[in-house]
């Protein structure tokens, strides 16, 4: 049974401002719910997208609200939801971030570096494609299966 009839590709345009996070989470939650995910997984998907966008807004865009990025959601025919976050910042592959060591981070009073770990744990697949001559924007692809 495919859920692809529910909606097709949808895009949210957001700016480099942390006030956008609430709207982004709402957009992702609505689409994930429409696609048929459980409340637990809706929360996880919205959390992963929040983490990715928080990093993007704070680090790549340096809180510059004149810069825009896109959150694209599209269902796959095999009951899989694909979320792509496209940005124009300096390319940064989040998959190179090491798994955080809590005790070490506490000793260093570090408050960041956890987001990527959360994304990797709650999504089924995470891929990163830096901009290249044929793709003008960096692309972070997050995949979650219905079951």
């Amino acid at each position: 049974m495919s859920k692809t009839d529910s909606f097709t590709h949808e895009r949210l345009t957001a700016s480099g401002d942390t006030t956008e996070l609430e709207r982004i989470r709402q957009f992702v939650q609505d689409k994930a719910r429409e696609f048929g995910f459980s409340e637990q997984n809706i929360h996880k998907i919205a959390l992963a997208v929040d983490e990715a966008c928080s990093n993007l807004i704070r680090h790549a865009y340096q809180l510059d609200d004149s810069k825009e990025f896109f959150v694209d959601i599209s269902p796959n025919d095999d009951d899989t939801l694909v979320i792509e976050i496209l940005d124009n910042g300096t390319a940064f592959d989040p998959l190179t971030v090491p798994i955080p060591d809590l005790n070490q981070y506490a000793a260093q009073h570090r408050k960041g570096g956890f987001g990527v770990h959360i994304i990797r744990m709650v999504m089924d697949a995470v891929e990163y494609f830096p901009a290249d001559p044929t793709h003008q924007m960096n692309r972070l692809k997050l995949v979650k299966k219905l079951s």
Binding site: L21, R25, K44, S54, A106, K111, F114
Partner: protein, 115 residues
């Protein structure tokens, strides 16, 4: 319009922070300055009550990481309490229960300070 608020009450020797709403990269700085102010005022026994918190991202968790070593160095602590399952899940994903004292009820957290 703020979707996050903090209420603060002194209870015995501890300062209790009641969080409400959504704690993310936008609202985390508000919590960070509230905790920094309490520590600066000499209060190192802190309890954070999550009963009315609907959502947390790692930016919220990061706030506790900033101060935990500092308050423990002086015999204090940051005790976390009354989390909804959804909020606890995020702490659990990152292994925070290993580093932080998380209790079900506020009284338990307060009792640990007076023990």
């Amino acid at each position: 319009m703020s979707k996050f608020s903090i209420e603060q009450k002194t209870n015995g020797s501890a300062e209790v922070f009641y969080l409400k709403g959504f704690l993310d990269a936008h609202t985390a700085p508000e919590l960070e300055s509230a905790i920094a102010n309490a520590i600066e005022a000499g209060q190192h026994r802190l309890v954070v009550n999550f009963n009315d918190l609907e959502y947390i991202s790692s930016a919220g968790l990061g706030v506790f990481m900033v101060f935990i070593e500092e308050v423990r160095a002086t015999g204090g602590d940051i005790k976390l309490t009354a989390m909804k399952q959804k909020v606890f899940t995020v702490f659990d994903l990152l292994g925070f229960p290993m580093l932080f004292d998380i209790t079900e009820k506020e009284e338990e957290a307060l009792a640990k300070f007076s023990a």
